[in-house]
Symmetry: D3
Subunit: 328 residues, 6 copies
Amino acid sequence: MVQKLADLQVGMDFELPVLINQVNVRTAKNGRRFLDLIFSDASQELPGKYWDASEADVQTFVVGKVVFLTGKCETYQGKLQIKITKMERTADSQYELNQFVPHGPLTKTQLQEQIKALLLEITVPKWNRMVRYLLKQHQSAFYEFPAAKSNHHDYAGGLAFHTLSIARLAEDVCRHYPQVNKPLLLAGTLLHDLGKTSELSGPVGTQYTVKGNLLGHIVIMDAEIVSACAPLKIDPDDEDILLLRHLVVAHHGLNEYGSPKRPQLLEAEILHDLDELDATINMIVKAEKKVQPGQFTERIFGLDNRRFYVPKRNNSQTATPKQTNLNL
Amino acid sequence: MVQKLADLQVGMDFELPVLINQVNVRTAKNGRRFLDLIFSDASQELPGKYWDASEADVQTFVVGKVVFLTGKCETYQGKLQIKITKMERTADSQYELNQFVPHGPLTKTQLQEQIKALLLEITVPKWNRMVRYLLKQHQSAFYEFPAAKSNHHDYAGGLAFHTLSIARLAEDVCRHYPQVNKPLLLAGTLLHDLGKTSELSGPVGTQYTVKGNLLGHIVIMDAEIVSACAPLKIDPDDEDILLLRHLVVAHHGLNEYGSPKRPQLLEAEILHDLDELDATINMIVKAEKKVQPGQFTERIFGLDNRRFYVPKRNNSQTATPKQTNLNL
Amino acid sequence: MVQKLADLQVGMDFELPVLINQVNVRTAKNGRRFLDLIFSDASQELPGKYWDASEADVQTFVVGKVVFLTGKCETYQGKLQIKITKMERTADSQYELNQFVPHGPLTKTQLQEQIKALLLEITVPKWNRMVRYLLKQHQSAFYEFPAAKSNHHDYAGGLAFHTLSIARLAEDVCRHYPQVNKPLLLAGTLLHDLGKTSELSGPVGTQYTVKGNLLGHIVIMDAEIVSACAPLKIDPDDEDILLLRHLVVAHHGLNEYGSPKRPQLLEAEILHDLDELDATINMIVKAEKKVQPGQFTERIFGLDNRRFYVPKRNNSQTATPKQTNLNL
Amino acid sequence: MVQKLADLQVGMDFELPVLINQVNVRTAKNGRRFLDLIFSDASQELPGKYWDASEADVQTFVVGKVVFLTGKCETYQGKLQIKITKMERTADSQYELNQFVPHGPLTKTQLQEQIKALLLEITVPKWNRMVRYLLKQHQSAFYEFPAAKSNHHDYAGGLAFHTLSIARLAEDVCRHYPQVNKPLLLAGTLLHDLGKTSELSGPVGTQYTVKGNLLGHIVIMDAEIVSACAPLKIDPDDEDILLLRHLVVAHHGLNEYGSPKRPQLLEAEILHDLDELDATINMIVKAEKKVQPGQFTERIFGLDNRRFYVPKRNNSQTATPKQTNLNL
Amino acid sequence: MVQKLADLQVGMDFELPVLINQVNVRTAKNGRRFLDLIFSDASQELPGKYWDASEADVQTFVVGKVVFLTGKCETYQGKLQIKITKMERTADSQYELNQFVPHGPLTKTQLQEQIKALLLEITVPKWNRMVRYLLKQHQSAFYEFPAAKSNHHDYAGGLAFHTLSIARLAEDVCRHYPQVNKPLLLAGTLLHDLGKTSELSGPVGTQYTVKGNLLGHIVIMDAEIVSACAPLKIDPDDEDILLLRHLVVAHHGLNEYGSPKRPQLLEAEILHDLDELDATINMIVKAEKKVQPGQFTERIFGLDNRRFYVPKRNNSQTATPKQTNLNL
Amino acid sequence: MVQKLADLQVGMDFELPVLINQVNVRTAKNGRRFLDLIFSDASQELPGKYWDASEADVQTFVVGKVVFLTGKCETYQGKLQIKITKMERTADSQYELNQFVPHGPLTKTQLQEQIKALLLEITVPKWNRMVRYLLKQHQSAFYEFPAAKSNHHDYAGGLAFHTLSIARLAEDVCRHYPQVNKPLLLAGTLLHDLGKTSELSGPVGTQYTVKGNLLGHIVIMDAEIVSACAPLKIDPDDEDILLLRHLVVAHHGLNEYGSPKRPQLLEAEILHDLDELDATINMIVKAEKKVQPGQFTERIFGLDNRRFYVPKRNNSQTATPKQTNLNL
C-alpha cells in the first residue's frame, strides 16, 4: 500500500496526509477557478489541481496546512501529478510539521539545549542579556525557520542548526587563537542570522517577505539590537553594543553580498569566515548525496556554479560508525 | 598689516585670531614635548609647533577652539609655517566658527527657513512627524556639519545645503513625473544623510568616528528611525516606515557603495540619482574654480579620477547677474 | 463584435485591419512556402501563418504595412494564434501608424511645437544652426522613431518624447546651477540620440540596422556633425564644435556602455545623468503599470534585473487630477 | 671633449646644440621669472633653469626648437641639471629633429617607400582612394609623430613604423587564412591610428591635445573618413565605407579601451589582435634592453604591470647577423 | 537511395554505416532498459533508442565504434530521430574514423610531415629532445584529438592542425622580430596543448576526463616535462627547462583563464597571443560558413558572445583559386 | 652597554653580532665601490655602508651570514644608520639564525614533533608515503622558511607553523563533519605550501626565486608529486594521486589568485578556506600588536587594505593565563 508520495507510480490510487507547500488561485480559459497546488511529505513534492474552488476552499487550503488527500497519480507532459478526488483539512494538532518537510539531524529539543549551553559561554553581561532577549522574542521562529530560501540549510530548523554549527567552529577557533574575544564572537554568531525570522516567510513554501526584500536580515537585526537597548536599559552608544552591531552588520563579508561595512574587527572577520565555511560544506555535502562515486555533482549555484567530484574509492576514515558531531 | 593667514609671507610678524584645525601631541628626539598644530582662518591653513607643552596646554589647545596667535611666518622644507611666539585661548563666544572655516553660500538662518518650508510639503503625517523628530534631535549638527570629510560639500553647513539642493531637484522631478510620491521622496531626502552627524566628528578637522567606521551613516540612521517609533507611537512594521527606511538604506544605489539593498522603490531610485547628480555637479564646479579657461582640472577622486575641461570661451548665458539659486 | 485583437478568444471569427509587425519567409518540411507573421494593433500582438506564399505575396506583405485580415482565432501549444482566411493590403494612406503601435502621451504636433520652443533657448548661433540643420535632415524619423528597440520609450514617437523630457530636466538644472552652459546642454540634449534614426530600422518591428550594429548612434551622429560643417560654413575644429561633439560622444557615461570617451565637461556629465534619470523613471513606471499594489514588478533588464515594489497604499499627492507634465 | 649630454659629469663645462623638450614659465618666491626647461639630444634628457626670462625669451625658447647651449653640469637633490650660461636659438634648418629625439630603425624615406608599396595591395578602388586621400592630408605628421605619448613606439616616426609592422603581420595572416579580405585589412591598418596626428601634439614633448582628450583618435578619424566622401564623390553609406569605418572604430577591441563597438568583422578582429601583438612586442623589447641577462625588467604599465625575464643564456638563433626585418 | 544521414527525411527507410557518438544506458518507466544513442557520419548527427538492451549489447555498442544500422527516420517533438530496426557492430578495421567525424583540411600524413619539418627548427638540443620525446609518447592521440571539446578546431585532428597553424605564425613573427628566441617559441608551441590528450576523452563524443577536470592540460603537461627529465637525463632545474615549462604554464595568458602565472617571457607572451589569434580566426570562419552574405553569425560563446557580420559583397582577393595555406 | 640594535641612539658606539639581511654592491659617483647593507638582530633592522669593498669583501659579506660589527650610530635624512668601523665574519656555527630574525612561538623541535604526530593520522599508505617522501626532501627548508615574503607568517619557521595551524583546524572540521576525508585533507595540508621552499630564497632577505616567479609554488609542488611516483613505485594516474594533486593545485581557491583549477573536491575547498582563515587571523593579530586599544590598525594589504579596530576595553576571556594552543 502507498505509504508516502515517493511510492506513487502512474495509475495508482492513494489516501495520504500531505502538506500544502504552495498554492495559487487561478482561472482556466474556460472560466473555472482552481487551486494550483504543490503537496509534500518528507519523501517528495508533487503538484495537483483542485477544480471549482469556492471562496471557502481558498480560505481553507492555504500554505502550511496538512490535508488528507484522496486521489490518483497521473502524468502530464512527462511529469507525475496528482488527480485530486477529495481533499480535507486535518486538525492543526494532528500532525507535526517535521513529518512533512525536510529537516535537520537534531530535534528542536536538542537544538534548544545546545543553544542554552552556549549562552553560558557569553560571559559579558551586556551581550548575554541582549542575546537572551532577542532569542526569546523570536524563539519559535528561530527553531523552525530554514537558514535560507534555498542554497544551504534550507529545511525546517536549519536556521538554528546552522547557527549551532558555526558556534562549534567558533569555540575551536577561540581555543587555537587566544586573542579572539569569545563572548563577542559567540554573541555575534547567535544573532547574525536571527533577522531571517523577519526576512523569510517561514519553514513551508519559504518566500522573501516585503520587509525582507526592502531591508534584508542584516539591517532588520541591527535595528532590533538598538531598539532592545531601551527595555534592557543599556546605552545604545556603549562601545560593546557597537561591536556587537558591527558583527551583525559585517557578517556577509563583502559590500557586494549586502554588508554595508566590511569586517573591521577580528571577531567580525572570523564570524564571516566560519559562516561561509559551514554554508559551503553544507552545500557540497547536500549535492554529493545526489550522485554516485566517480561522478561530478550538479553545478552548485551558491558556489559560483562549480561542480564537485565524488571520488571512486572512499578513503575517509570509516572504521567506526559515524554520528553527527552535534549529537554527542 | 596682516589681516588673514593668506596675507603672510616669509619673515612677517603677525597677531591674528585663528582656529585650531588639527593638533597632535608629540615628543621630539631631544625629549621635549610639543603640539603639532594646523591653524586656519577662512583664507588658508598653516602648520605650527608649540614647544614644551604642559599638561594644561594639552587640555586647552584642542581642535575646534579659536586662539589668538602671535608669531612669525617661516619656511620649512619649502613650505610656509608659523613660528609661535604666544598662543592664547579666546572666549568661546567671542568668534563664530564660520569666520574660520570654509562655508556655503547660505547662512544658517536661511538654511533653517528653507528646510522649514520643505517640511510643509511632507503631507503624510507619519513621515512628517518622523522627519521633524529626528531633525530636531540632530538640529545643531545638521546645520553645522559638512556633507563629507572631503569630496563634495566638504564645508561647514554643507550637509544641510546638500540636502536642500537635492530637495529642490526632487520638487522638479515630482512636477515632471506625477507618478512620484512627493511626501516620501522629500522625507527620504531630508533623512538620507542625517546619520552623518554621528559618522563624522564635526565641521572642524573632520574625521570618521569609530561608530561611523564600524556602522556607517546608513545603518546608524536606519536604527534611529526604528527607535523613534516608540516615543512617536508609530508601529515600526507599518509599511510607510519600511518604505522610509528603504529610502535611507538604499540611497547609495549600489552594494559596492555601502547600501545593503539596492533601490527597489521608484522614489529610492530617484533619491539616489539626485544625490549623485548634486554631489557630482558640486565636485566639478569646485574643481573648475581652481583652473583657467582652456585648462583641465586636476583629477577628481570622487569621479573616477576624471579631469574636466573648462572651455576657452564661456558661452553660457551671462546677460544677467547670477545668484545662487537657493538665495531667492 | 470583435473590435480589436485583444477581444479575440479561441474559436472567434473576425475581420480587422492590423499591422504587419514581423514577417519571415519559411519553408515547411512538406515543401510549402509560408509567411510567418506577427500582427498587431494598439491592443495586442498575435502570430499567424500565411500558407503557399507566392513571390508577389512576399513583396506585398512586408513589415510596417497595414493589411485587412479575415480569420479565426486558434491555439497552438497553449498560445493564441490567427488562422488566416484572407489577407489584403490596404492603401498606405487609409490608416495612421499610431492606430496600430503603442505611442506616447503627446501628438506629433505637440512634440514639434515644444521642440521648436526649445530651439529658441540655444542662443549661441553655431550650436543653434547645427541643431536645426540636423533635426531638419532627420525630421520625420525623429518624431516617429522609438528611443530604443526595447527597454525605455520603446514606442512610436519615443525618441522625441525622451529628448524633450531630458530637456525639461536640463532647464531645471540650469536654473539651480548657474555655472551650467545652457545653450550647450540643450544643443547636446537635442542631438545626443538623433543617430538612432540610422541605428534603428523604424517604429515598427524595430531592429538594429547593419550600420547601427557596426558603428552605433554615437559614432554616426558625431560624423554627421562634422560633415554638416561644410554646408554650414563652420570650421570643424572650432572649439564650440568639439564641445558639442564631446556631449554626443560621451553621453553614455562609461566606456563599457559604448562611449569612447567619458564625460569631461560639466554639461556632458549632466546630459549623461539626466539621460539615465529619464530612462530609469520610464522603465520603472512602465513596469509598475503591469502589477498590483503590494507586488513587485518583473525584473527590469535595463536596471540590472532589479524588481521594484509598488506600495500597498498610495501616499502620493492625489488631491488634483494629474496630467502629464509636458502637456501643459 | 663633451660631444653629447650623456657625456656630462658634475662640474663639466660644455657647449652643445640641444632640443627644448619641455618649457614652463614660472616665477620664483623672490619674484624673478624663469624658464623651467628640459633639454635633450639623442643621448639623454637634462633639466635646466633660464633666469630672468624676458617676454622675448618666452616667445623664442619654445618646445621643439634647437638651441645652442653654453653651461655647466651641476647636481640638485642628487640629480644632474644644467646651469645655463648662455642659450641661443639656432636656425630652423641647421639641424634635423632626428638628431635630438629617439627615433626608429627606418628613415623617413624608407618608411615612405614601404608604405607606398603597401598601397598597391589595396586593390579595391574605394578603399585605395580613401587611404591615399587621408594619408596625403596628414602626410608630414604621419611620418614624424610617435605612435603614443609613452608605452610603445614612443619616438619620432613611431606612428608610421608601428603601422608598417602591423601591415607586415597582416600580409602573413592573409597568406595563411585566405578567407581574410586583404584590401580591407590593409586599408584599415593604414588608417587605424592616423587620428593620432590630431590627438597628440607632435614628436617633441608629446602631449594630448584638447581635441584628443575630448574625442580621441578613433572618433576623429571616423569623422574624417565620412567627411572625405564628399570630395571623393563616394556615397558615405556605401557598405564598403561602413566596413572601413568599423575597422577604425573597433580597433581597440574592448569598450573599456575606448572602442565604442567591439570588432564584428573578421578583419576588424585581426587588426585589433595584430595591433596589440606589435605594441606588446615593442614594449617588452624596449624594457628588456634596460636590464641584464638573468634579471627581470621593470614593471611595464601597458602590460598590466608585468615584469619580463631575460634568460641568462641566449638560445635564440644567432648564427647570422641580424637586421631589422623591415630594412631589407 | 540514402547515402548519408543528411539525406534522411521523415518516413524513409535506410541502411547505413554510422558511428556511435554518445551512448547512455537508461531504464524507461515501464522498466525496459534501452540505449539512448547519438549516431553520426560526416554529414550529420541523429539520435535513436535501442530497446531491451542486453548486457552484451551494453558492452558492444560503445562510443567510438562504427555500426551498420537498419532503420527508419521518424520525428519526435519536432526533431528527426532514428527508429532502429537492426544494429550490428562492424569490424574495427572496416571503416576509418575520418569518414564519420568532421575533420580538418590536412590528412594525418600531411600533418606528420609538417610537424617533422618544424622539429628541425628547434636547434637547441634540450628542447628538441624534450619535444620529440613527449610528442612520441602521445603521437597517436596528438594527430587524432580535437583541439577543444567545442569552440575552435573541434574536429578530429584539430589539435595537430591548430598547433601547426600557430607554428606557422610563430615563424613569421620570428622573421619580423629577430629578438625572439625561435627554438624556444617553437618548442613551447608544439607542447602547449599536448596535455589535451589527457584532458579530453578523444575525437568521438569528446568529454573532459576526471583528470582533465581536476588538473587541466596545463598542469598535466608541466608535470610530464619534469617527469621526462629523468629518462632524458636533463637536470629539471636547468633554466632552459624552466623557460619551456613557463611557456606551457602561461599560455592561457590570464589567471582567469587558468594559467597559474601570466606570461613573463617575450616568447610566452607571443605564444599566448598567437594561440588566441588562431583560435579566434577559426571560430569566426566556422561561424561565417553558416550564414549568408549580409547577415550576422550566431553569437560566438568563445568570443564573448559577439556576432560577426559577413559583408554583402566579397571584396577579398579572389582572382586565383584558394587553397589552405598549409597544403602546399 | 648596547646589547642589541634597538638600544642604539644617535652617537653611540657599539660592538655587536648582527645578521646581514640585504646587501647590494654599488659604486658611488666618486667611483668608490661600497656595500649597501641592511643588518638585523631579533630587535630591529638598520642600514649601513661598507666603503671600498674588495672583491674578497663582496664574496665574504653575503646575505644570511652573521658578522661582528664595530661602529657608531648616526642619522641620515632623519633615519638612523650605522657608520661601520670594522666588520668581521663569524664562524657559521657560532650563532643560531633564530637569534637574529623574527621567529614563531614554537621551536624547530616542537614543530617537528607535532608534524610527526600528524603523519600518523594519514592512514592511507599512498598519501602517507608521498607526504613523508617530499617532507624529507625539503626537511631543512620546511622548518626554516617563512610562509610568505611578507603578509602572513613572514618569519623563520613560519611555513611549518602555518602548516601546523591549518592542520589543527582541519582536525576540528573533520570532527564536526564526518563526511570529510581526513587522510586526504591532512596530506594536502602538509604539502600545499611546500613548494615555497623553491619559490622563496630562504628565511633571510626573502626574495622570490626565478623559478618561483616563472612557475609558482603550486606548479612546482604538483610536478614534484608526479616525479616522486617513480621512486615510490606509485602509478601517477592512480585516482588517489590525482586527488592529492588537485588539493595542491586548487588551494588558492580562485584562478585570479593563481590556482589553475578552482576546488572541485570537498577537501580541496576546506583546505582553501582554512588556509585563508589562518592567514587572515595571523595578519590581523600581527597588525593589532602595533596599535593601542581604541585605535585602528594600519591598512592591511593582504586583506584588501582594510583597517581593523582594537576595542577600548578587552572583554575576551582573561581569567586564566594564555598559552599558544600548539604548545601543549
